[in-house]
Amino acid sequence: MNLSVGYLITPTQAWYGLWDIFVYLGIAVGVVVISYFVYHVVRYRSKEDYVPTYENKNGSHDLRFVLVSTSLSIIVLIILSAGTLNAASVTFNPPATNDTVNIEVIGHQFYWQFVYPDGRSLINNLTIPAGAVVILNVTSQDVFHSFGISQFAVKIDAIPDRYNTLWFSVQQPGVYVDAIRCYELCGAGHAYMIANLTVVSQAAYQQWISQKVNG
């Protein structure tokens, strides 16, 4: 087994990087547009009740404003598309390394089951080695669920008769209590479909795996 793949950009980092871009741009656009709007409301306010003539004194200025500002919004959208596609290249391409762990995730009403390559299975506790590329194959035994680890910004639907894949990687060992949740209404137990994420050192993981369960 190799050393950790800490130099990689993970889906978690890709997501938070993209989130920052959206948040800053979104707040900027929102503040500018709403202030402009409210400023106009105040500036052109009239207290008297007059009979309007509905003349347009602005003429082509109106049209120019709408066209220019719409074009600006299109430019912002293009920036955001580029950012999205860039992040996607990380999110959907697990790096090829032999430090990869494949785990099957099965959603049930109302618990998560994690099945390891050697057949052992854990309930509501996903144990992974720190720094490894973890690939999860997610499915469901009954209804639609959605498997998500908000802290690490990964999520995929658990759909009966279908396998969906996601990858992520965590550097810091520790027990992340209640980190895994179900994000699709799946019945009465939806609120309690919660699991822990346990990240252990490479050595501890190897030891755990080598304790071959017999029978």
Binding site: A14, W15, L18, W19, F22, G26, G30, V33, I34, F37, V41, Y44, R45, S46, Y50, V51, P52, T53, Y54, E55, N56, K57, N58, H61, D62, L63, F65, V66, S69, T70, I74, L77, L80, S81, T84, A88, T91, F92, D142, V143, F144, S146, G148, S150, Q151, A153, K155, I156, I159, P160, D161, R162, Y163, D178, Y183, L185, C186, G187, H190, A191
Partner: protein, 797 residues
């Protein structure tokens, strides 16, 4: 006018409101009923906010919470926001285009009663043994199937849902025909006011979107009641539901929003005293663009279902793209203030607030459009916040604006401006206190009934709950203000805002004859005249729409209660409902046809006007074409679902192994030749040959019946000799459902033929008046064409 009043006095109050077909009355009914449903759904929201205000709360249990969350979503969207837009469409659109009523007044009443009764069915489903449906308004399969949500409650809710689809289809056919066909002379496409344009877009979107939902629900109910297996996990049904649902679900967002936008676009120029920035044509084009685009973005609700990456990229781009027409609309709304003289009356304040709320909702929508960012936001309170801003907030504030704006028109009296402003301030602040914290709760899953204190979500939830209660409480100002206007305490002038759209200045576009029949007449502020309809409309009470809607509702309720494949103790209880419903339905339909035959309900059509596609194109024909368009979409959705599940199945019985190709081919020939005889019947009718008409239509009837009879034998043979039933896997499921649905259409055609035969015998089909034969021919060709698609899919492939 005296005479009118005299006629009017004789009608009781109850009779007027139960049997009215008059667009203003129905507008008022829609308005009041949707407010009632808002009250119900708001109550559910209040319960949810109490439950979530503190971690680990036990005020509601998970089942109650899930039912509340589901009914809240369904009722708010489909029985409050959308119908509130329809209320104004009913009241205002005919006035804006100078028509005396909608194209089909009785169908308008039918839409209303179906809307009311379907909502009652949903509310009643709560009180069924085993409770209502708790799977969310998105009704995802397989959670919504009988296996995971058994019992009559969910079935009843879905039946109500189906009836609402029918109500909306009938309504959109009516509005589209009205706007295309009933415009007064001078009301060309360029003159159509913004609210009417946006109502038109809304109705076209409804016509496009709802068939997919109707198809999905029919398949679901077939699964629940007949034991078919469209949405069983093994047939890939979970994603099938996603596709069908979101093909409806996303356009529905715009269905809800566009009427509010239409109202805002009327209000802005009125209160700034200047025209809208950007030419009207650009705004109309932007609105028009939303219609097709809204369908091309549906899969952004499926970003984490594992659909191919290329699709995710594509749907991100289309979703970004749909924000562009909205940018155009919002930016021109904003710029419409420049250089104006803004009167900050209550409608204007609400319109401004709606735009601000929409901007916040729109920007956060761009977050969710990014298929990468969506990963962590999807299914969380970020989404809840976003769609409450964009769909609930912008729409509610826009329609509040519409209410205050048109209230003087509808009541001939003013509301209290001070109370209106109080309503505005309290609502605007509390709305933001309620929903803004939810953006910050972007890690909290939606639709969880409780959470642990360790999550740290308690404070923001508490703040949101406070905002929610203040928001609900501030609606008391709204209700009081409505009462003030209705009670007529504050006088006003006929056109208090000095607006220039036709509903304020009747007569500008309307021909002389039309003016007389405009009851609110000639811009007067006379309350007595207002509460009247025209003489023509007083004779136009009809009990048929109410009877038909009740009959349909009883029938479906009976079916829902039967739940016969569940082995529940309800077996049999549904039957009396079912048969009583069928009887009532038959009585209503026959009565309706009878009224038509004797000319009891005759709508005097304006002599001429602005019409599309042409002046001579009959109104009913336009309606039928629109209706058939929606039917094409229903069958299209169902046949696509068939191809989908079939692609999913590895094994399928070889052609000829189950269904006899010979019998199928003969039957196809029988049905197709009936198209020919229908054509000959039409030719006979055109030349006034009554005998020929009777002979050919009789032959068509015989051929159609033969087709059904052969189908009956085939089914009997399949079920009792071959053991091939609706439960026989997907081949059985799809065959019985689709062929059965087509058979039901053939049966409806046979009923129409009976009507034609009866009418021809009475000598009421003449050379000049044979439209019914032509329209039947259209429908019958459609039914035959559908069979041409079905036949090879089941018999030859």
């Amino acid at each position: 006018m005296q005479q009118v009043e005299a006629v009017y006095q004789k009608r009781s109050w109850l009779k007027r409101w139960l049997f009215t077909t008059y667009h203003k009355d129905i507008g008022v009914l829609y308005f009041v009923t949707s407010l009632y449903f808002a009250f119900v759904a708001g109550l559910l929201a209040a319960l949810m906010r109490v439950q979530l205000s503190a971690p680990g709360n036990t005020f509601l249990g998970p089942t109650e919470f899930n039912s509340a969350v589901t009914a809240h979503g369904l009722i708010m969207i489909l029985w409050f926001l959308s119908p509130l837009g329809v209320a104004f469409a009913n009241y205002i659109v005919p006035m804006q285009i100078g028509a005396d009523d909608l194209a089909f007044p009785r169908l308008n009443a039918l839409s209303y009663w179906l809307f009311l009764i379907s909502g009652m069915m949903l509310v009643m489903s709560f009180f069924m043994p085993g409770g209502g449906f708790g799977g969310g308004w998105t009704t995802y399969a397989p959670l919504s199937t009988a296996q995971y949500s058994p019992g009559p409650g969910p079935s009843l809710a879905f039946m109500g849902f189906i009836l609402l689809c029918v109500s909306i289809t009938v309504g959109s056919v009516n509005f589209i025909t009205t706007i295309l066909w009933k415009r007064a002379p001078g009301m060309g496409f360029r003159e159509i006011p913004m609210f009417t344009w946006f109502t038109f877009f809304t109705q076209v979107l409804m016509l496009m979107a709802f068939p997919s939902l109707l198809a999905a629900l029919l398949l679901l109910m077939s699964d629940r009641l007949l034991g078919t297996q469209f949405f069983a996990a093994s047939s890939g049904g979970a994603l099938l539901w996603d596709n069908l649902f979101w093909f409806f679900g996303h356009p529905e967002v715009y269905v809800v929003l566009l009427p509010a936008f239409g109202a805002i676009l009327e209000i802005l120029p009125t209160f700034t005293g200047r025209p809208l920035a950007a030419r009207t044509a650009i705004l109309v084009a932007a609105g028009f663009l939303v219609v097709p685009l809204s369908v091309y973005v549906f899969a952004h609700h499926e970003f984490v279902t594992g659909i191919p990456l290329a699709l995710r990229e594509g749907f991100t781009i289309t979703t970004f793209a749909i924000s562009v027409p909205f940018d155009v609309m919002v930016l021109s709304m904003i710029h419409s203030l420049t250089g104006g003289r803004i009167k900050l009356k209550t409608p204007m304040l609400f319109a401004i607030a709606a735009v601000i709320i929409f901007i916040i909702g729109g920007i956060t929508g761009v977050f969710l459009a990014s298929f990468v960012l969506d990963i962590n936001l999807r299914g969380t309170y970020f989404v809840v916040a976003h769609f409450h801003y964009v769909m609930a907030g912008a729409t509610i504030f826009g329609l509040f604006a519409a209410t205050y704006y048109w209230l003087p028109k509808m009541t001939n009296h003013m509301y209290s401006e001070r109370l209106g402003k109080l309503h505005f301030i309290t609502s605007f602040i509390s709305f933001n206190v309620l929903y803004f914290p939810m953006f910050l709760l972007y890690e909290m899953p939606r639709r969880i009934y409780t959470y642990q204190a360790s999550t740290g979500w308690g404070t923001l939830n508490y703040i949101a709950s406070i905002g929610g209660f203040v928001f609900i409480a501030s609606q008391v100002f709204f209700l009081v203000n409505l009462l003030i206007a209705v009670r007529g305490k504050i006088p006003t002038t006929p056109n208090p805002w000095h607006a220039i759209t036709p509903e304020w200045v009747p007569g500008v576009f309307a021909p002389a004859g039309l003016l007389k029949s405009m009851p609110n007449g000639v811009g007067n502020g006379n309350a007595e005249i207002h509460s009247e309809g025209t003489a023509a409309h007083h004779q136009h009470l009809s009990q048929r729409p109410l009877a038909l809607a009740s009959g349909a509702a009883l029938t479906l309720t009976g079916l829902a209660l039967s739940s016969w494949n569940l082995g529940l103790p309800f077996l049999g209880i549904g039957n009396p409902f079912f048969f009583a419903g069928l009887a009532l339905l038959a009585w209503a339909v026959i009565g309706w046809a009878h009224d038509d035959m004797i000319g009891k309900f005759k709508v005097p059509d304006e002599e001429r006007g602005e019409r599309w596609p042409s002046i001579s194109f009959p109104k009913v024909k336009l309606g039928i074409w629109t209706f058939l368009a929606s039917e094409v979409l229903v069958f299209g959705s169902i046949l696509s679902s068939y191809l989908y599940v079939r692609a999913y199945s590895t094994a399928w019985p070889a052609p000829g192994s189950i269904h006899s190709i010979t019998i199928g081919t003969i039957n196809t020939v029988v049905l197709l030749s009936s198209s020919l005889t229908a054509l000959l019947a039409l030719r006979a009718a055109r030349s006034g040959d009554r005998r020929g008409l009777l002979a050919w239509i009789g032959l068509t009837f015989a051929l159609g019946s033969t087709f059904l009879a052969v189908k009956g034998f085939e089914w009997y043979d399949l079920i009792y000799n071959l053991g091939f039933t609706p439960h026989s896997g997907l081949p059985g499921t799809t065959y019985f459902f689709i062929v059965g649905l087509h058979g039901a259409h053939v049966f409806a055609g046979l009923m129409v033929m009976l009507y034609i035969i009866r009418k021809a015998f009475a000598g009421k089909i003449t050379k000049e008046n044979h439209q019914v034969v032509e329209l039947f021919g259209l429908y019958w060709s459609f039914v035959d064409i559908v069979w041409i698609f079905i036949f090879p899919l089941f018999y030859l492939m």
